[in-house]
């Protein structure tokens, strides 16, 4: 039994309201604080935006990118080039800087996509070193070519005709506040969108992401593009402040420092990116006031970084968990879980329509000299549950992998409702109506139940339907964070989400592993209803024969990669060959 607590619905307008309040506070600060003290606060905002960008690609999507300041350099370079050459000054007037900054963002995003391309095959440390190498190459290039304003020997015009004096600094601070607020709002909405879910999902499992119908490539490249876009905006904003950039502000070592800072504060959270920006500026400033050499600030960052990383936590998550614990007391406890759920009306084992929905012919999979599957021919009838059993190593999971596009080199043909699935990528197959679940936990814990259900179902189920399916499988409600849900229930949520996606056929790979016997029975009661209730035909791999017998219209036995027997429950389970292969010579069913 699992107990969760339910809170009120999240309010969609909240980020906008907070952003508006933040802008108002920024304007008050700009009025109250003397102009000559506003340089550092502006730098805080620039650093915060950089950290937000890093928070997307590294914090959310889990790819270590060590070239965030190279993106800022590209952004600053583009803004300077447009400004120095005064491309559209007479068209956009005082708004031309904003236009240049947006162009800088888009241009940097394009470069971000190119930088992200290696991430499609290279991961972890290899990717980290490659991004660092790219940062180093950018640095050397910038040292030689320098920035347009420096080359031309002038300063770029500030946005909205603001002066380069202290009076202008007030305006620049407000400009920075508005830019930061807009970036923060945009990132917040993106994090809650399909893209945000795909970033969190790809950080946890690429295979799981593809099986949810989302392209891993698109997920990774959008993360790099958004991160680079934000980095380019930060670079442009930086240039509006200093009006003439220099390569030394964007060195690879500073990118490395940004990465450590991002890890320390947990900059995938907006407020923590702001805190990171504050630390970035305030620690050196305090040291300067105390007349301590500035290098001590890096020493402090180094120590903070080691401390944060060795404890495996970041400030943002720690603080949030603290709040969550306090808030949890205020919520109403609800009981969920199959065992404690109400019994549902018993339903007969489903009978099919007679039409073959999933048609597998001569499926063969070879790993080198090993034949994992040999000439497997199988037909799944619409509206039924086909139980697929067999001893360990019989090739059951290999069959699912081959059907769902993870083994594109397989022999034979697979057709779903008459449409060939051969050579399709896994995410295409999932979208085409053949879904699967995993034996392993492939449910990203960084999402909430609702976000995960929406991500997997891809708009196929309305919110009310999602609630209904969750309730049917006695899963926790949509607001529950998946990190609070145990692994067995997570896998039930995976099943529920796959059903919500309304596939034609759903392949379940040991969905009940990790559940107790009572829960097995309750799960079987529900599974029998799925074909008629949701219109989803099911192929079930399961070791628990009680469960298989309680739900399956027909049963197929795999052994050593070949179909040993196939047919009705009675005929298959009384087949002496099956008894011998599956249960050993002496045991009886």
């Amino acid at each position: 039994m699992l107990r969760v607590r339910v809170a009120s619905q999240e309010k969609w307008w909240l980020p906008l309201a907070i952003g508006g309040i933040a802008i108002a506070i920024g304007i008050i600060i700009a009025i109250v604080i003397p102009a000559d003290s506003l340089f550092r606060p502006t730098t805080i905002l620039v650093a915060s935006i950089s950290l937000m960008g890093l928070g997307v690609v590294t914090g959310t999507a889990g790819m270590i990118a060590l070239c965030q300041l190279s993106f800022a350099a590209v952004g600053a370079w583009i803004v300077e080039w447009f400004s120095v050459n005064d491309i559209w000054g007479n068209i956009f007037g005082n708004f031309s800087f904003v236009v240049y900054m947006l162009i800088a963002g888009v241009g940097t995003a394009a470069i971000g996509v190119i930088v992200g391309l290696p991430a499609l095959r290279l991961r972890g440390v290899n990717l980290a070193v490659i991004t660092l190498g790219i940062a180093a190459a950018f640095d050397l290039t910038l040292q030689k070519t320098s920035f347009p304003a420096l080359v031309a020997g002038k300063h770029i015009a500030r946005p909205f005709g603001l002066g380069s004096d202290f009076g202008g600094d007030k305006g620049i601070f407000i400009f920075a506040v508005v830019t930061t607020a807009l970036v923060a709002i945009a990132i917040t909405y993106l994090q809650h969108s399909r893209w945000g879910s795909s970033w969190k999902s790809v950080a946890f499992s690429e295979r799981g992401t593809a099986s949810a119908g989302t392209s891993v490539q698109v997920a990774k490249l959008t993360a790099f593009a958004v991160s680079a876009f934000v980095g380019g905006i930060a670079g442009g904003l930086f240039d509006s402040q200093i009006t003439q950039a220099n390569f030394s502000s964007f060195s690879p070592l500073q990118s490395l420092g940004m990465y450590v800072l991002s890890a320390v504060v947990g900059s995938h959270l907006i407020d923590m990116a702001l805190l990171g920006g504050i630390l970035f500026v305030v620690i050196p400033w305090i040291l300067q006031l105390l007349k301590v050499p500035l290098e001590w600030s890096t020493v402090i960052f180094g120590v903070l970084g080691i401390q944060a990383l060795t404890t495996g936590s970041n400030l943002g998550t720690d603080i949030r968990n603290g709040f969550r614990r306090r808030r949890a007391k205020a919520m109403i406890p609800t009981e969920v879980g199959l065992a404690s759920s109400q019994a549902i009306a018993a339903v007969e084992i489903p009978r099919g329509t007679g039409k073959v929905l999933l048609d597998i012919k001569g499926l063969t999979v070879e790993f080198g000299a090993v034949k994992a599957l040999t000439n497997v021919t199988l037909a799944v009838e619409e509206g039924t549950i086909l139980g697929l059993i067999g001893p360990n190593g019989a090739g059951k999971s290999t069959l699912i992998d081959a059907l769902t596009g993870f083994l594109p080199e397989h022999g034979g043909t697979v057709a779903l409702n008459g449409v060939s699935l051969d050579k399709l990528a896994p995410n295409r197959i999932a979208r085409g109506g053949l879904r699967r679940t995993y034996q392993q936990d492939r449910v990203p814990p960084t999402l909430s139940v609702g976000a995960y259900m929406r991500f997997v179902s891809r708009g196929q189920a309305k919110p009310a339907e999602i609630d209904e399916i969750l309730a049917f499988f006695a899963c926790p409600p949509v607001r529950t964070p998946l990190s609070l849900v145990d692994v067995g229930t997570r896998r039930l949520i995976e099943v529920a989400a796959s059903i919500a996606a309304k596939p034609q056929v759903l392949l379940l790979d040991e969905p009940a592993a990790g559940l107790s016997h009572d829960e097995h029975v309750a799960f079987g009661d529900r599974l029998r209803q799925v074909p008629s209730r949701y219109g989803v035909t099911i192929l079930l791999i399961e070791h628990d024969l009680d469960l298989v017998r309680s739900v399956s219209t027909s049963i197929t036995v795999l052994n050593f990669g070949e179909v040993l027997a196939s047919g009705t429950q009675e005929s298959v389970l009384s087949n002496p060959e099956v008894l011998k292969a599956y249960m050993g010579e002496t045991e009886l069913l």
Binding site: L122, G124, A128, L140, T145, E206, G302, V303, I306, L309
Partner: protein
Amino acid sequence: MWLNNVVAGLTPGATYAIVGVLLTLMSQLTRVVNFAQVAVGMFGGYISLTLVTKMHLPIFVGVIVGVLVAAILSALLGWIIATWLSEASTSARSAVTVAGLLFLISLAFILFGYRNQPFPTIVAGPLFTLPGGAVVSKVTVVVIVLAIVITVGSWAFLKFTAFGVKLRAVSDRQMAAELLGLNVKMLNVSVWFVTGAIAGITVALVGPSASNDYVTLSSIVIPGAAAALVGAFKRMDLALIGGLAIGAIQGLFAGFPNLLIVRDWVPIIFIILFLLWNQRKEVWDVAR
């Protein structure tokens, strides 16, 4: 002319190769990409510099103390990671070394000052001249020999000695090694100690000929890591070849002033393409 440039590129190339081989060793044995690999050597180098110039100790004493300091700093970093991050991901463990790198660079600024002083020279002068007129210096030969010795030596050590076998056991199955009664932490820290010492020796050798400010010196870890990438942080022989090749390519391009920008991009692009080809089958994050 071009041969001269290639030969000139071999000294930094061999340095990248040594760093690349060390990084590969660290990655294989301790599951970490040690961004502070050169920084500990740099720090040791400045310790010996201080001892020689300020306290007027003989050069060899200074160098030995410097190498020891590098080894101990490296071991300390390794101990921190082995103590608190023994179960953590490679990324988290590597990030700690980034913090260590920044820490050491700023500490160097504080302790040794802002003015760059020349390193005391250990090996200097030309050794022989190639038929084409390219001069090969002693440092080049020494560093290349050192790179080869480290590569072959580490390979033989891991393959043929009992200690090497233990280290491999620890890196492959840490839990199993622990259950067999091996002191995993001590073994890990000893790897850090040795690689730190080698980094110290390398800096002592090439420091005088490299541009020797704290940041530039510590940043040799970047081309070094690029060399290790050629072997995908798995193969030391490829890291050795990769390091020498990066140095040679950079030297070659130095002869064409109008290609200077291309020169900075050639190694990383070459490595990315090589790795993409090498890892073309790694479509998914996990095997199943």
